[in-house]
């Protein structure tokens, strides 16, 4: 079987584009959840950070990454990247609530 490298490249890129669309939509929904968490915590005066929860998340994601053949350190960096954005949202939300 001969392969046409240009055609094969296009095919792989179509998959990558589909995965990217899936990632964007799941991320959008994940941020909807964390925004609901932020609102809930603010409303019921619950502590904003939960380090035990974060440690459990890291542990779980590293395990899932290992099973899926994804670099475990990358998975942890990825989670931290997302959490940083969540914190940015929470701060913006708090700032908005305070200046109302």
């Amino acid at each position: 079987m001969t392969i046409d490298p240009t055609e094969r490249l296009l095919e792989l890129r179509r998959s990558i584009d589909n995965f990217d669309a899936a990632l964007i939509h799941i991320l959008a929904e994940r941020f909807r959840c964390t925004q609901a968490v932020g609102k809930l915590k603010a409303e019921f005066d619950m502590p904003p950070a939960d380090h035990d929860r974060e440690a459990r998340q890291v542990e779980r994601l590293r395990k899932l990454a290992e099973e899926a053949g994804l670099d475990t350190n990358f998975a942890e960096t990825f989670l931290n990247f997302i959490i940083k954005e969540v914190i940015r949202h929470h701060e913006a939300f708090r700032h908005e609530a305070e200046t109302k």
Copy 2:
């Protein structure tokens, strides 16, 4: 309707955990594709970078993010974060091929 904030928090966290598992698995599959791209490009001596393709990806993801209610700048930062990891893989792969 009264809500139990602790129960509601647990419920939201269950969704977040499910989304995280989905993200990890999709990322693992996306890297499988980019690794196949790297191998293909090396084998057929195709140029490693394609800036037109990258610009189209950014444009498309920003549009998808906007439709999904996700911060468009975050979507772009996210794509760059992923691409950085892809480049790291490609460099490791090239290094491995060269030292064989």
